[in-house]
Amino acid sequence: MSQTLTFGDSCAPITCHAWNKDRNQIAFSPNNNEVHIYQKEGSEWKQTDNLVEHDMRVMGIDWAPNTNRIVTCSVDRNAYVWTQGDDGKWTTTLVLLRINRAATCVKWSPMENKFAVGSGARLISICYFEKENNWWVSKHIKKPIRSTVTTLDWHPNNILLVAGSTDFKVRVFSAYIKDIEDQPGPNVWGSKLPLGQLLAEFPSAGSGWVHSVSFSADGNKVAWVGHDSSINVADATQGKTVIKLKTEYLPFLGCIWISNNTLIVAGHSCIPLLYCHDGDEIKFVAKLDNTQRKESGGLSAMKKFQSLDRQARIETSDTYLDSIHQNAITCINLYKGTKADAVKFSTSGLDGQLVTWDLRSIESLEDLRIH
């Protein structure tokens, strides 16, 4: 049902993680300026590289599956594109983001010819490779963003971009770069698509920061989660009205579609949850983690130091949670399948664990129909 992976003996929080195409390599940041690359050898995960170029905390990593390039962004206001040489070593190219605040999130476009970086400078940098000068340049989407951009996701058509921000709003922009792409045709979100065109803006009166956004596989729906513990869906084919579900859980930090009408959310409650968008409502489907409390077999010295390291606690009381993740889940990625038909997904969080979840076996265990 679920499998916990451990990398080395570190138990630092995992800021974010990204898989390669074959899922036998992973890049993650242990909450500092480094990006660790691990490769699967047999049943073991061995560190193959350590990307040290940033000098402040890494905020986002994305691995382009087909072109096998990694992009990272960090609080030091830089983004780097990493390419692998024939000797397996990663080399880096600086991207000119032209921002004066921390870069907070990064995502390759589906065709992998450009990527978007969100930042605290209240703008999104759309970056693409300029052959003449042999470097990555960026164009800015500025208006009408009024606060830090916290999360991004690309539409499958490679043109549209959805961004969530700390001004409580979710916006859909055109990220069309005319230097490298053909003129896009109209779609359900709009027909005029110059770079930076605002196609939709979803206000959420008084609610919290937006933590995560996701375009559905057909690109018609946008889902997002915010710090008011809500799950929101807007459908462009249904007049872009926002459907909001205020849940009874702690706020969610990640959301992702796993079929055209089901999505997974996870966050401070440490448990991934499955919700379904049906007509004009969002319905709870299942908890994906039904781990029961483990019998605590006394307190070993090992446990004591582990708890000191993980939670900075020295008291001996049992603080084990009824879940696999023992602290907030901060990142969800697909592991197998696509957004239209996901089979496995992976989560990582502040407890330093990386867990892969098998939706098929959860389906049969819980007697659910997900797809």
Binding site: A205, G206, D228, S229, E248, Y249
Partner: protein
Amino acid sequence: MAKNTSSSAFRKIDIDQYNEDNFKEDESEQSIPTGPDEGEVCALLNQYRFVEALKHVLNNAPLGSSNQQIKDNALTLTLKVLLAIKSAQIEEAVGTLSQDDIDILMKYIYRGFEYPSEGSSGHLLLWHEKAFNIGGSGSIVRVLSDRMTV
């Protein structure tokens, strides 16, 4: 060279005011309710129609109002209703409320803790317990995160 002083007054200077595209809260477009009608609430209380009184104060809560006077009046009135309802009837009253009403109720419970009177906190804790049973941690999070305060 700059003199090193222990003065930290500079930290209080609002440098953001000199930034022209400074972030401002959205002005709410819809008209903000002027708060519950005191006469009506008292009338309902006198007729022992407590649940109706509770619904009246929650539905007419001046959410996001910038007028502190209106907010304070609404708080006083809501606390009066909450304290008038007997412990045994709290669960039943909470059960009739919608999810949005529970969130507003939770906001008033926390505001009520700020202004304790004789025996009020214990009673509000009971309200809190019953509201939490329905709204969960989510409704407490919304008290903290929501800008539409009561």
